[in-house]
Assembly symmetry: C2
Homo-oligomer: 163 residues x 2
């Protein structure tokens, strides 16, 4: 069975047990989680989220610059007041450079992605600090928004606070 058909089968089971059809649109716990897309990191399980609790924004690396549009919508239109940033150990973003991926795309796709900043990093803790600083410095994120950063350890399941 293809992965898409497996998803459809799994959804039949989820929908058959579904009892949360009256939740409001704004997140109940007034928080937006920004995390890496990594397959080993499930923000809902890691943080104890139920349906309706939190916006969850995810991209390669969990980078703030790439989440600004979503964070503004979350705060200005849907009332979230806290941002929780989660990067993680063994992240793919530690394994390549912009020059490297630009070159690979030319070689393999015969296409040009030089206009895209892929936002890799070389220091995991610093990447969290950089993303907190980016949001704190943005005029589009009010000072009233609380911002906290964590590193998730994919080998232990533990979150570590970044100060």
């Amino acid at each position: 069975m293809s992965v898409v058909n497996e998803f459809i089968e799994a959804n039949h089971i989820y929908a058959a047990q579904f009892q949360k059809g009256s939740l409001p649109l704004p997140p109940g716990r007034k928080v937006a989680v920004l995390a890496c897309m990594d397959a080993r990191l499930d923000p809902a399980r890691i943080l104890g989220l139920e349906e309706g609790d939190a916006h969850v924004i995810r991209n390669a690396g969990g980078r703030a610059a790439d989440a600004l549009r979503s964070l503004i919508i979350s705060e200005q239109l849907l009332g979230t007041q806290t941002i929780v940033i989660i990067h993680h150990t063994d992240c793919g973003m530690l394994t390549f450079s912009d020059d490297g991926i630009h070159h690979k795309i030319k070689q393999e796709l015969h296409a040009d992605a030089d206009h895209i900043a892929f936002l890799p990093f070389t220091d995991l803790e610093q990447s969290v600090r950089d993303d907190i600083a980016f949001l704190q410095g943005s005029p589009l994120i009010p000072d009233s928004i609380e911002i906290k950063g964590f590193i998730y350890d994919v080998t232990t399941g533990k979150l570590h606070t970044v100060n």
Copy 2:
């Protein structure tokens, strides 16, 4: 207790039961899920995902243009071969316009976000078709990548295929 402290408490419980510390970095099911950040939509539960299965990319609306960086990394560096796009009923992206949010930000934050396209939409099914077409038309997404689109019904828990 603050939501951040609640997350840390919940993570202690998750980590105490954690037994998945040896998963590889590339997604086991070779799929990237692109979904809205909406709090009511939990891609892992909806699709039956376990830790290690799939990249999950999420942003306001589940828009493809805002996920291109992550999708390229997912495919070119980490071997995913399928993209599953999930938008949903009662989406916040149906409730505002670019002009409206640009004006609101000027009024409330005294800042200018006119350079940001917030990517709202007026037709839910068409928004999925537009995002499939965007990816199919991009030279940075190879034709070998399978792309499927769905609408998730937040009142029933069911996925509906968009053709």
